[in-house]
Amino acid sequence: MRRAIRAEWAKAWSDPATPWLLAALVVLTMAVSGVTIGTARCPAAACGQDPARLGLAGVYLGQAVATLAGVLALGGEYATGMIHVTLTAIPRRRLLVAKALVLAGPVLVASALALGAAMLAGTIVLPGHGFTAGHGYDLAGWATARAWCCATVYLTLVAVLGLGVAAVVRDSAVAIGVVLGLLYLFPIAAMAIGDQAVARRLDQIGPMSAGLDSQTTIDLHGLPLAPWAGLGVVALWAAGVIAAGGVLLWLRDA
């Protein structure tokens, strides 16, 4: 297993796209978070805005880059035919696990950096925009740290989800479309559906809405899912798709 990981690591970092993707993840995430923090205002008490979600708004775009990183980690090999060589060298059952580990590490670090910087900026800037203790906000609490932690893991899981979908569909472009459709479809369908119970159920099972529940720090009792349960749903999606990808990799020719 260690050799498989080392091989995948060398392959990932010899691709010139890898540092660019990680840089794009950091820059785009921080840019969206920065704009959101800069434009948010809380003029009165109980203005209903979640300062952690504002600081983490970059996740909405960052997840697209994380998806791309995950999909390209495998999809690129199918595009060039490299996959034949890889499968000759590494046993099939280990390939996806090794790839997932090699992918998750750098994405986790990049996400933690980008979101940490964004949230730090939030704790400095937001009190000046009305998010003060007087208005019922505690920006430096345990909940904020939990939101940061969950958002970082969420981005990593989205990248792993992208890897799994790439293993299932074997084409980068299709995989990106499928993952982004999967992420955005559930919340939009939930909003379009009038039946509150069905909409809530959709919010519970959709990877994006469940993942965002885990980044919330206010009005927790009104959420469709408890924060850690929300992250659990995303983890189940990622694990399920990786498992499906692994089985298909086992059954099919490359």
Binding site: V32, T39, D50, Y60, A173, V174, Y184, M191
Partner: protein, 486 residues
């Protein structure tokens, strides 16, 4: 050339299935929407003001009949607002457009002509007339107000902090005003909302405001005051109990509702017809992916070398691909929108959701404009694909540039309003301003977000933004295609 590209497109089954799914998605979201409203039968007939626009006209009015010219002077000592709180009971809030002051109104019928001077919750002193007129005065929360009728149809508003030095706020002419009008004191208080996380989560309720007036003075010989709840509870924002009490020279007037043009969305009523095109985001993602792959698939398979050998004038290859993509996307999207817009409106109305009536031209602009915007987005994706050459990079760039701004501002509105408006001005998604059917009124507090059909740009200005993006990328693509080896 175009025929060859069409055959290429047609022969990939995945692409054909994808664009058909795009059309089905547009229709599916329009007829499958479950938004519920409360406007059935007569409750759907909306009042119209003197200018013909839909208006709300509900407020508490302490009035008497006043014939000919004259003036009313009064001091507003306080204006406070409250909403029902989530825990029961009421919660004091600042309702920016709570209004209390003096009004001259042609009659008690809803939608009749009027002119008024008022203090507001946080918008200072205002002089308003006939629902859409609005003149800003000094920023005072309380103080003296005077409304003067002269020459029959000229009404002038004044304000003062101390009752001795007066400032003229503005004058309006109401040509058709009858000799005898209903004049007096009024209080009203619109729907109060707060948004969280962009506009994705909105909480709010009807509000209720109470104003205390004293030193009321009329130049007419004073008659008896009557209290009337104009508009009753029929207004969209009316809710809590209203009324007035008088102790000596002090009037306490409590009102709820609004006097002003109707807006749509969370603080207004019903929704805008843009709601019928909620499925456009799926079509957008599908067409962006298909458009980008239409060219990158050739690079992946090496087919591009054969294509360029068959047609050495490379600009023509790009043009043919763009034309085929644009026509296919337009035809498919049009098939979706032409069903979705009329049918979606019928479905919403049958669910009791109020929609503004549309002219044939506006409806046509929504249908054709949205289809054209989707088609141009697909062409833009072809251009991006030609520049990027690699399928994954092209699809990611096309989605990030075209679909993500649209999804984040219209479909899942999580960005703060400022950021959302900014995105809808500069990104290709600006083109969806062709779905604009309603007017924003600065004097009515509402969430004027793209998600509710309020776009920051005029329809054709927004469309021009997309045209500019497409033109720039097609030029880049043509240059890249000519310069590079295949």
């Amino acid at each position: 050339m175009i025929w060859a590209e069409w055959v290429k497109f047609r022969s990939v089954r995945g692409w054909v299935v994808a664009v058909v799914v795009a059309a089905i998605a547009i229709v599916g979201f329009a007829i499958g929407g479950g938004t519920q409203g409360s406007c059935y039968g007569n409750s759907c007939t909306q009042l119209t003001g003197p200018g013909g626009e839909a208006v709300s006209d509900s407020f508490y009015f302490v009035h008497q009949a006043l014939a000919g010219n004259g003036a009313i002077t009064v001091r507003v000592t306080s204006l406070t607002s409250a909403v029902r709180s989530r825990r029961g009971g009421t919660q004091r809030v600042v309702v920016p457009w709570a209004k209390a002051g003096i009004i001259f109104k042609a009659g008690l019928a809803g939608g009749s002509a009027y002119a008024a001077i008022m203090v507001t919750g946080s918008r200072g002193v205002r002089m308003q007339d006939d629902f859409t007129g609005d003149i800003a005065g000094p920023a005072m929360q309380a103080g003296w107000l005077r409304l003067v009728r002269s020459s029959g149809s000229v009404i002038t508003g004044y304000t003062s902090a101390d009752g001795t030095r007066w400032t003229r706020v503005g004058a309006v002419i109401l040509p058709g005003l009858p000799t005898t009008v209903q004049g007096g004191l009024f209080t009203t208080s619109p729907q109060w909302t707060q948004t969280s996380l962009g506009v994705a989560a909105i909480t709010g309720d009807a509000s209720q405001s109470t104003a205390v007036f004293d030193h009321a003075a009329l130049t007419w010989r004073g008659g008896a005051w009557t209290g009337t709840d104009v508009g009753g509870s029929s207004g969209p924002a009316a809710g809590p109990a209203t009324g007035y009490t008088r102790t000596g020279g002090q009037f306490t007037v409590t009102g709820s509702g609004d006097i002003g043009p109707v807006t749509y969305g969370p603080s207004g009523i019903g929704t805008t017809p843009a709601q019928t095109l909620a499925g456009a985001f799926i079509a957008l993602i599908i067409l962006a992916v298909t458009g980008a792959m239409f060219i990158t698939a050739e690079y992946r398979r090496g087919l591009i070398r054969i294509t360029l050998a068959a047609c050495p004038r490379r600009g023509r290859v790009l043009a043919a691909k763009a034309v085929v993509t644009g026509l296919v996307a337009f035809a498919v999207a049009l098939a979706g929108t032409v069903v979705a817009v009329p049918l979606g409106q019928r479905v919403l109305r049958s669910h009791g959701v109020y929609l503004p009536p549309l002219t044939v031209l506006t409806e046509g602009r929504m249908i054709v404009g949205t289809a054209a915007a989707l088609a141009l987005c697909a062409v833009l994706a072809v251009a991006i694909g030609t520049v990027a050459r690699r399928g994954a990079a092209a699809v990611a760039a096309a989605i990030a540039l075209i679909a993500v701004p649209y999804v984040l501002t219209v479909s899942i509105p999580v960005l703060p309003l400022g950021a959302a408006d900014w995105l809808m001005r500069v990104t290709p998604a600006a083109a969806f301003a062709v779905e604009q059917t309603v007017v924003q009124y600065p004097q009515v507090d509402d969430v004027y977000a793209p998600a509710y059909g309020y776009f920051p740009l005029a329809p054709w200005a927004g469309f021009a933004v997309l045209c500019a993006w497409t033109a720039v990328f097609l030029t880049l693509a043509a240059v890249a295609l000519n310069r590079r080896d295949a």
